[in-house]
């Protein structure tokens, strides 16, 4: 185990902004992509019917 405590984990050895900025934006992008795809599908289904 690398981390003694939760705050140590969150601090990422002083690189918190860089590490969490990378993982956070990536997660946000993937969630946004799925939401946009669901909206596109709803619209496509609506126009077929």
């Amino acid at each position: 185990m690398n981390w003694g405590s939760v705050s140590e984990f969150l601090a990422m050895g002083g690189y918190a902004g860089y590490v969490w900025g990378s993982f956070g934006i990536t997660a946000a992008c993937l969630v946004l992509e799925i939401l946009l795809l669901k909206a596109r599908r709803r619209e496509a289904v609506r126009r077929v019917g």
Binding site: M12, G14, V19, I34
Partner: protein, 248 residues
């Protein structure tokens, strides 16, 4: 002996559409499972890097996204080329469905690269061969998408997009070999088939599992998107109309 399996069955949108619909939840489930394993290894098993401290953990998203950005481009160019050569509808729809996810992976590679470059090199961005060719890849994806969006007739849009996709494919080996061909700040390849990995086994395992997760995620979202593209383009066809009658 002649095969009785019709290998071309799933090359028609009408039979591919329901197949893709069935596969999507399975791909999402496997991708999530792999992402959980990969992140666990990346944050809790892989040790702190001797030179880069904890900042190196960006590798677990940066390298898989960068690999995926190049791989998706090759797949997109392949399907676009197939559509151009054989005039098959589904091939061109696949190419259109891959482009936005490819652009997203390229953006993630550039974004995480900037956040890694700042603490390690002291700069968010440098005009270096690897970074510049990856930025060109983003412009190729965006160019393909905006060209297709600008042409009303989908068949003509497919042909024009295929030309960009195929010409732009030259950029992929340039990205890959840029760290060998030019002097660059960017470090060399993380994984090579011809020599031992330059990193700890747990770091490598975490990175490869994350690469697999992002790969299967990409398949899932591309299948989702291609189903919408099929509905948008074939909404007047008999099989789509029958589909909605069954559902209602």
């Amino acid at each position: 002996m002649t095969s009785r399996i019709n290998w071309f069955k799933y090359s028609s949108p009408a039979s591919f559409y329901p197949l893709a619909g069935k596969l999507i939840p399975a791909f999402f489930a496997v991708a999530s499972l792999l992402a959980v394993c990969g992140l666990y290894i990346g944050f809790f098993v892989a040790p702190t890097d001797a030179q880069q401290g904890e900042a190196y953990r960006i590798i677990f998203i940066h390298v898989p996204a960068a690999w995926m950005s190049m791989f998706l481009y090759v797949v997109m160019a392949f399907w676009a080329g197939m559509g151009l050569a054989f005039n098959t509808r589904l091939s061109s729809m696949m190419a259109s469905a891959i482009a936005p996810t490819g652009a997203l992976m390229t953006f993630i590679a550039l974004w995480t690269g900037a956040l890694w470059g700042k603490p390690m090199w002291g700069a968010w961005w440098v005009w270096d061969a690897r970074l510049t060719s990856e930025l060109i890849l983003l412009f190729l994806y965006l160019g393909f998408m905006s060209l297709q969006a600008a042409i009303d007739d989908p068949r003509r849009a497919d042909k024009a997009g295929a030309v960009i996709a195929l010409v732009g494919a030259v950029n992929v080996p340039i990205i890959y070999f840029s760290v060998q061909w030019w002097n660059t700040l960017h470090q060399g390849a993380s994984v090579s088939l011809t020599r031992n990995p330059s990193m700890a086994a747990t770091m490598l395992a975490g990175m490869l599992i994350m690469a697999l997760a992002i790969w299967i995620y990409s398949i899932a979202v591309v299948l989702m998107r291609v189903r919408s593209v099929i509905l948008e383009r074939e909404r007047n066809s008999d099989w789509v109309q029958e589909l909605t009658e069954q559902q209602s």
